[in-house]
């Protein structure tokens, strides 16, 4: 009989929890957008009393977007939370495009991206009455790499990159590019077509022409898969963010890129920051919803914190910081925007 009572007890508990789960949404399930607004007004009142300048802010900050920017943002949210434990930052990583899908309809406050916003994304934002302000957090140098075992390639020109990566580029063997190079198939490792890294390469090198596909081409969203593939194959070539090269310098060889002036440049902290590693050095962004920034003191506070600390964050996680003036300029811009 006692077993029977135990079972009843379990059943009743489960039912209660189930009912709670079902009813719990009634009071404040007015939708995430309205939730945000409600919170914003509450916070507005709260900070009016205390003054928002002394860091007494609270409430949610919702961030989504590029997985390339994720490590920088994680550093920033972590450090920010140490100082402001009352602010609940939630950081997601659904890719540059995924982030814009949410930010252009007002679901999130900040949208990270490893490429500038596209025109159609801008149009969606305008339709929904949303203004997104672009903030540059750091630089990344897209590094074109081969294996350390590859002893023939040192530099490539933009045209040679096109020959290798374009669908109708014409080079499928290394000897097609330079007759002195071995007559072996070129094996390509590239980030998948949904990634911002591919978007950027597609824009500046391929100029939106179709990339080679099929045999000897591996696409992966996981950069570590690309690294592993290239490491072990002397005839492989690929590209990804600088941090992944920097961590694997002993097995990978980075190529100098000649953008037509006959002077190949390899990506390093300096060449990426001063822009001489061109055109493959790219900025990493976050886009902030301007209205939310004005309405929610915690968003404004976090944005300021991010700009002030993005340089340190970039170096900690393997990217390259912007020159200090750039951060200063952006900080001034934000303050002007918020004061409007």
């Amino acid at each position: 009989m006692s077993k029977w009572k135990l079972m009843m007890l379990v059943a009743v508990t489960l039912l209660t929890v189930g009912l709670l789960a079902a009813c719990g949404n009634a009071p404040d399930d007015a939708g995430s957008d309205e939730n945000n607004e409600a919170n914003a007004s509450e916070n507005g009142e709260g900070s009016g009393d205390e003054g928002s300048e002394d860091g007494e802010v609270s409430g949610p900050v919702n961030i989504d977007g590029s997985s390339t920017v994720l490590p920088i943002m994680e550093y920033l949210t972590y450090e920010y939370n140490q100082e402001n434990p009352e602010v609940e930052t939630a950081l997601n990583s659904s890719g540059s495009g995924g982030g814009f899908e949410k930010s252009t309809v007002g679901e999130i406050d900040l949208s990270n991206a490893s490429r500038p916003i596209k025109d159609e994304e801008k149009a969606t934002a305008e339709e929904n009455g949303i203004t997104l302000h672009e903030i540059e957090l750091a630089y990344d140098g897209l590094s074109v790499v081969v294996s350390q075992e590859n002893d023939f390639v040192e530099n490539l020109t933009i045209d040679q990159l096109k020959q290798i990566f374009l669908a109708d580029g014409g080079a499928t063997k290394w000897s097609d590019i330079n007759p002195e190079w071995p007559e072996e198939d070129i094996v390509i490792y590239s980030p998948g077509h949904d990634s911002g890294t591919f978007d950027y390469f597609n824009e500046v090198i391929l100029e939106e022409n179709p990339m080679r596909e099929g045999e000897n081409v591996t696409l992966s969203e996981d950069d570590n898969t690309l690294v592993t593939g290239i490491q072990s194959d002397p005839y492989a070539i690929g590209y990804f963010g600088y941090a992944y090269y920097a961590e694997n310098q002993d097995t990978l060889k980075v190529l100098g890129i000649d953008n037509g002036d006959g002077n190949p440049v390899k990506p390093t902290g300096d060449t990426i920051q001063d822009g001489s590693y061109s055109p493959l050095s790219r900025p990493l962004f976050t886009y902030v919803n301007v209205d939310y920034m004005k309405e929610k003191p915690q968003v404004l506070d976090f944005v300021k914190f991010s700009i002030e600390n993005a340089g340190a964050a970039a170096e900690e996680v393997g990217y390259v910081a912007l020159p200090d003036e750039k951060y200063q300029e952006q900080l001034t811009e934000i303050e002007e925007l918020a004061a409007e």
Partner: protein
């Protein structure tokens, strides 16, 4: 003459017997070898990074400070909503299909669909959850939306397991109960359910073990990659262990792979605990009749 044939036949059978025996042993050991390799690799990589602090800390950009607390708590909260919702719905469905529904074409149609649902890729449930819970019910990217999506995901498995369990209750027990004057509901509640508890709970806990290891649907319904609070309501933001692990494995620095391995160890331990509970419950209730 006939003895000769017989001994040849028997010889053949003995050989075949041995052949199949070694084949099956080989099949089993392949699985065991890979399991051992997996566990060895994960343990050797992750054990150094496993500590009390790893369990207590939130995710961090520094390897020494990174921890799985947010994921661990998120997973536990998620499962404690998913479990009652999916078990209550699942067992009710199974009871209806086994005890009440007439054996007609419509019932068979439901039956086949439930079984097919069990094989639908998890990402599809994620998309369903995004449309239905996040947008239509306006739950947002919250713990409750994630938990309900997970409930849907494991529901078919629970239904099928519960049906099996209910079906295996001997018919005589039901007849005896009805013969004593009990109503149908009394029979189900006092005889059928208690007798099928071991099967139902074993199936449910195996299904929930699947839920605790899922990543794809939760990424779609918005589980966070880095969060520094644990849920305090049904509408809180949350993260779960598999997402935390996934975000660590995609880092460029090699050390993060070891941190991920430590996370996998924690996840494996939780899974083993859940399976142990399933075994314990089965043994406890097994000899009821």
């Amino acid at each position: 003459m006939s003895t000769k044939v017989n001994s040849a036949q028997i010889k053949g059978r003995v050989v075949r017997n041995k052949a199949f025996k070694s084949l099956f042993i080989a099949a089993t050991s392949i699985a065991l070898i890979f399991l051992a390799l997996l566990i060895y690799r994960i343990l050797s990589q992750g054990i150094d990074y496993l500590s009390i602090d790893f369990l207590r800390n939130y995710p961090a950009p520094y390897i020494e400070e990174a921890g799985i607390f947010a994921g661990l708590m998120g997973s536990i909260f998620l499962i404690s909503i998913t479990a009652p919702v999916s078990i209550i719905l699942g067992v009710s469905t199974a009871l209806y299909l086994e005890e009440y529904a007439k054996q007609n074409r419509f019932t068979r149609f439901i039956q086949v669909n439930v079984q097919n649902l069990a094989g639908v890729p998890s990402i599809v449930f994620g998309l369903l959850g995004l449309t239905f819970f996040v947008y239509i019910l306006e739950l947002g990217y919250s713990l409750i939306a994630g938990a309900l999506t997970m409930s849907l995901l494991v529901l078919p498995v629970i239904v099928v397991a519960s049906q099996e369990a209910i079906r295996s209750v001997p018919k005589e027990l039901r007849e005896a109960s009805i013969g004593m004057g009990a109503t149908k509901w009394q029979t189900i509640w006092r005889i059928v359910l208690p007798a099928s508890i071991p099967g139902i709970l074993t199936g449910s806990i195996l299904a929930l073990s699947r839920a605790i290891g899922e990543t794809a649907p939760l990424i779609i319904v918005g589980a966070a990659a880095a969060i520094y609070t644990i849920p305090d309501s049904f509408f809180s933001k949350y993260t779960v262990m598999p997402i935390q692990i996934w975000s660590w494995t995609s880092r460029p620095q090699e050390e993060w792979q070891y941190v991920a391995a430590a996370g996998i160890i924690v996840l494996l331990i939780i899974l083993l605990c859940m399976n142990a509970i399933a075994v314990w419950i089965r043994n406890k209730f097994q000899n009821r009749f």
